[in-house]
């Protein structure tokens, strides 16, 4: 590498480092940017279908941005509309749940004392409920902050989406000109492969979550379990996390079944629905949709999720998998190159 190439490479690496530092220092910009990118990836196949051979490209982009923005606006409006009644019902339900749990724990204490003569002196229920109430109050206290962030997102996400749909191709071409010649071909192809893999993974997970959520909702509706839609939605969302997700998804349903006084609410039926949905996911959906894209060992997946959660919370848990798949691809490429040249 000559002097000129070295200067170009150093400058490029410097710019890359600045961009990474900027992304870490300004998460309020990075997070909606990343979210917009995910929405762009999910809607890309549809956009291509709409725009290929069509002269109404801008109209298609506008429609996609509008649909994505509505998805962002509707939950916010719905939350704002019901915030006062929701808070009151949350407080009532928490106190009701506390009563039921305390009754059950009291019965358990008496049973233990009668059978084993052992007296339980601790009161974990009051401790957990006080913590939960504190968490509820904290959430309410932080509500104006969350709201301002949401409004920020409502403004930024459509703007970033417009950028991704309309400008990103030309801009990435301009940025690629800054990549030094010796690493251009390889880095461009790897970057494109990563983009494709990341996009495919996000779309596959989105479809998988939708299928699982639908099965759970329908199953719970059939057995007459309460909150079928919310539990289905939760099961779909948590399913995005491999291995840990299905367990997290079933926890709220178990709590509802445990606390409910309604004799029609069946714990066994609910568990059968969740197991069936997860079985269909494991046997059919995951092998057909996701495993071909990531193709990672289960141990690596679990370790990656833990690392991802430490680095960037829930978002980190979701996006770490395609990153690890990309690094696998990168090491494979480097290894292939080394084996040719050595």
């Amino acid at each position: 590498m000559n002097r000129n190439q070295k200067i170009k490479l150093s400058l490029f690496l410097f710019l890359l480092t600045v961009a990474v530092i900027f992304a870490i220092v300004f998460p309020r910009l990075t997070m909606p940017f990343g979210f917009s990118y995910i929405i762009y990836l999910i809607s890309k196949p549809l956009t291509i279908r709409l725009t290929t051979g069509s002269k109404k490209q801008r109209l298609s982009y506008f429609l996609m941005i509008l649909v994505a923005s509505l998805f962002l606006v509707i939950p916010v409006v719905a939350t704002l509309y019901n915030v006062d009644t929701d808070f009151v019902s949350f407080k009532t339900e928490i106190s009701q749940a506390q009563k039921v749990l305390q009754d059950k724990f009291f019965a358990f204490k008496i049973k233990v004392f009668e059978e084993y003569g052992f007296k339980i002196n601790i009161d974990p229920i009051s401790f957990i409920m006080t913590k939960l109430e504190g968490l509820g109050s904290d959430l309410l206290g932080q509500f104006p902050n969350y709201l301002s962030v949401l409004f920020e997102w409502m403004l930024l996400v459509p703007l970033f989406l417009y950028f991704f749909f309309v400008e990103s191709q030309d801009l990435s071409r301009d940025l690629l000109e800054a990549v030094p010649n010796p690493i251009f071909e390889k880095s461009y192809v790897l970057f494109s492969q990563f983009n494709t893999k990341f996009g495919e993974y996000i779309i596959a997970k989105f479809i998988e979550a939708t299928i699982l959520g639908t099965i759970v909702t329908l199953g719970l509706l059939v057995i007459g379990f309460p909150y079928a839609f919310i539990l289905g939605l939760l099961a779909g969302i948590t399913n995005i996390l491999p291995y840990i997700g299905p367990i997290l998804g079933v926890v709220p349903a178990i709590l509802i079944a445990f606390l409910s006084k309604d004799p029609n609410v069946s714990m066994v039926g609910m568990l059968v629905v969740f197991s069936l949905a997860n079985l269909i996911d494991m046997i059919l959906v995951f092998p057909l949709l996701v495993s071909k894209i990531v193709n990672l060992h289960p141990v690596i997946v679990v370790v990656s999720i833990i690392i991802g959660s430490q680095l960037a919370g829930i978002v980190g848990m979701i996006v770490i998998i395609p990153f690890i798949a990309f690094f696998k691809l990168l090491f494979k490429e480097i290894y292939k190159d080394l084996s040719v040249h050595l």
Binding site: N2, I48, T52, E177, N181, F184, K186, V189, Q193, V340
Partner: protein, 203 residues
């Protein structure tokens, strides 16, 4: 009839007319117009119009095709790619020249044997675009300060997705380039066999 009059008549009749100005198309038409020949700067349009294998492309197809290209500038003696590297792209020489070497030895810093010097409007590396795991069979080095226009695997995939007709046409032209190269190789092999036979007969 002037453009304004034509538009006014169309509007009066309620006929369809262009609802917006396509700046990139206007820019392209300006570049492609004979007036642009007054300037010495060659445009991508002029360049590709003079490349015989892409002569079947219409003006609009050339315009779309250039959107998928990457402009790469190389200094004299700078390596474009090395023998044994994984190949991903196909290059057109927009300005300058490129030397193609074989038996390149990286350890000894030996470029190897010069096979051919490619000049402006010639192209190389098409196998890298088509083969899945392509290894470069020769080393390409810029003979002087050179500008290359490269198209790579992801660009071809994107072209096929966004403009399938253009993508298919480009693939057909690339296949033609390969067929020509195969034809040349066959001729060379026949010639070499003939020479070997002559040598064998003399011995």
């Amino acid at each position: 009839m002037s453009y304004e009059k034509e538009m006014a008549e169309k509007l009066a009749k309620g006929e369809s007319h262009a609802d917006k100005l396509d700046i990139s198309l206007l820019k392209y038409l300006w570049d492609a117009s004979p007036v642009s020949y007054l300037t010495s700067k060659e445009t991508y349009h002029d360049f590709f119009k003079k490349i015989s294998v892409l002569s079947s492309f219409t003006d609009n197809e050339v315009r779309l095709f250039t959107k998928f290209l990457h402009r790469r500038e190389f200094q004299a003696n700078e390596v474009v790619f090395r023998q044994g590297d994984t190949g991903y792209g196909f290059y057109f020489i927009f300005a300058g020249a490129v030397n193609i070497y074989t038996n390149h030895n990286r350890e000894a810093n030996d470029q190897g044997d010069l096979v051919i010097k490619l000049e402006k409007r010639q192209y190389f590396g098409e196998m890298g675009l088509l083969e899945e795991f392509n290894r470069r069979t020769a080393t390409a080095v810029a003979a002087e300060n050179t500008i290359l226009l490269g198209i790579f695997k992801p660009d071809l995939e994107q072209m096929l997705e966004l403009h399938p007709v253009l993508g298919a046409k480009f693939l057909r032209e690339t296949a033609l380039i390969m067929a020509n190269r195969m034809g040349q190789l066959t001729k060379e092999i026949v010639g070499l066999k003939k020479k070997i036979k002559e040598i064998e007969q003399r011995i």
